[in-house]
Symmetry: C2
Subunit: 322 residues, 2 copies
């Protein structure tokens, strides 16, 4: 792991904080790989973060999220803002690579100096991606981007992770049979601060937008009422409306004090995650942990212990190390 | 919580083990709600589990998974087998209810005494659903079902959870533009033991099946080669082929010794999960934990501590209780 120790040298940090994108790319790789020293690196840069506005973008596969994010990012860039994009691919641990689509997109955006894009795939176990995504967003924030877009396929748990990581969450849906119902099933409606009906030139788009508005009316409280924006990503239609809707939500969050509340909830979750991580480290560092786990697994499988007895014994062993 | 303590009484256990479905339904609710005593209940029934064959079914939203599972379950029932179905809805913590579609299906299957169906929604945090799903599958297994189907929307992390919980994993896809690519993106290909192209009367179905077979050929090793089965769920077409493919995979797992290996890996993961759960319980039971977490969150948000310093302090406090 060549870049492992490198991310903690003074020289590396100087380059990172001076805006060297190669240093940024290496830092992100270190986070993805959980390379030695990456946590020290995060500690070092932590104070620099907190200035970027974080926008989450989620929706079903094939909804056109990537294209929309590219267009919106270009609007920000045209307005003089530096933008980071994290494209999260909640894929299997087997493929573990960047998406083909992202590779193509990266080429398209490569000409724009104000935009930095990086895709990330699931490697580790449950929850690993959420942790890494938050850390990469933090890194981009500390690097000095004005806005960071976190984009992911939104079914399963990943859309909640995005909503938890972002200040404003944009949900993209498309007018296909049953898609509105699916979006609601997947819980996308509840996390949306801005709803986008993409491929709005297709049949059923207006009906879908109406349905979404009715649903939102039923749920509306006193606070923010998520707007439904029509878009055709491939033609760049609706991009200005999305950009404006995100800006409006940002103003609302600031003025209502909700931005502080959202960010506090995020810190709280982060502390709970770090705590669980510390425990995992203690487990891994417990002498004989792997052998004991192996032994207890066999005991359970052969019916001599219940998993509850086995885990209690494992816990006792780990506790001694604390 | 009326049913809370009830699940640990001798009377309740007797009824559960005698095959009382109301007792089963109440036990599942206790698991979903993490009601007092549910872990004691699981301990009590653990020895009875291990006989059911576990089939995971996953795929994109709208692929027709529910309909296919219903049909296959009816085949099993017709052959004299008792079948449990857990329909997992990885939705938001806000909606927290059963799916409309499942309610309709439950009515359809209600007439079949050999089939028991239950839907579950995400309530808690990351990983909570996977834990509860495994526990419900275990409960159905201990109750005496010959087969348990675990069905979930497969994008995000949930399809990995299903694959980890099941003996045989069936992946359902549909011939829609880009769906094959999406399936691969979502990592569904790698976890499939049986691949189903549903809505096979639609254009592009044959092409999709060919693409899938080519991909599988490229990946094929010496072991099991996942068959690609064509189906039209709404007409019941392909159901016999799916049933046969699952049976063939089951034979393969048994004869190759892989069934034992898969189940061992499952126990191992379960022990790691239970260990993390024990730690969470210790945290929750640490006097002043909530107040300290609240205090440290504010310290981090106001820039006086980094999250790393804060979590180290939290961990120190919790360690004292261990």
């Amino acid at each position: 792991m060549r870049g492992a120790a490198a991310v903690t040298t003074t020289d590396f940090l100087t380059r990172f904080l001076a805006g060297d994108r190669l240093a940024l790319a290496r830092a992100i790789s270190a986070i993805e790989d959980e390379a030695d020293g990456y946590r020290d690196f995060l500690r070092e840069i932590y104070d620099r973060a907190g200035n970027a506005y974080l926008v989450g973008v989620t929706g079903p596969p094939g909804a056109g999220k990537s294209t929309l994010v590219s267009h919106v990012a270009e609007r920000y860039a045209a307005a003089g803002q530096d933008v980071g994009i994290v494209a999260v691919d909640p894929t299997s641990p087997f493929t573990g690579g960047a998406l083909l689509g992202d590779r193509i997109r990266m080429k398209e955006l490569a000409g724009n100096e104000r935009i930095f894009i990086r895709s990330m795939a699931t490697r580790g176990s449950l929850g690993g991606l959420a942790k890494a995504t938050g850390e990469v967003a933090l890194t981009m924030d500390a690097f000095g981007f004005d806005a960071v877009f976190i984009e992911t396929v939104g079914v399963g748990q990943s859309e909640l992770d995005v909503a938890n990581s972002a200040d404003t969450t944009v949900v993209v849906v498309v007018p296909e049979s049953g898609d509105a119902v699916q979006a609601m099933k997947a819980g996308l409606m509840e996390i949306a601060d801005v709803l986008v009906v993409n491929k709005a030139d297709r049949e059923g788009a207006d009906l879908m937008a109406r349905e979404l508005r009715v649903t939102l009316d039923l749920k509306a409280g006193n606070g923010w009422r998520p707007p439904v924006v029509m878009a055709v990503a491939t033609e760049g239609r609706g991009v200005d409306d999305i950009t404006a809707a995100v800006a409006a939500h940002r103003s609302y969050l600031r003025e209502s004090g909700e931005l502080v509340a959202r960010r506090r909830a995020r810190v709280r979750r982060q502390l709970a995650e770090l705590l669980a991580y510390e425990f995992k480290c203690v487990c891994a560092a417990t002498p004989g942990y792997e052998n004991l786990l192996e032994f207890l697994t066999a005991e359970v499988q052969e019916g001599r212990l219940t998993p509850y007895e086995a885990s209690a014994r494992l816990f006792k062993e780990v506790s001694r190390e604390m």
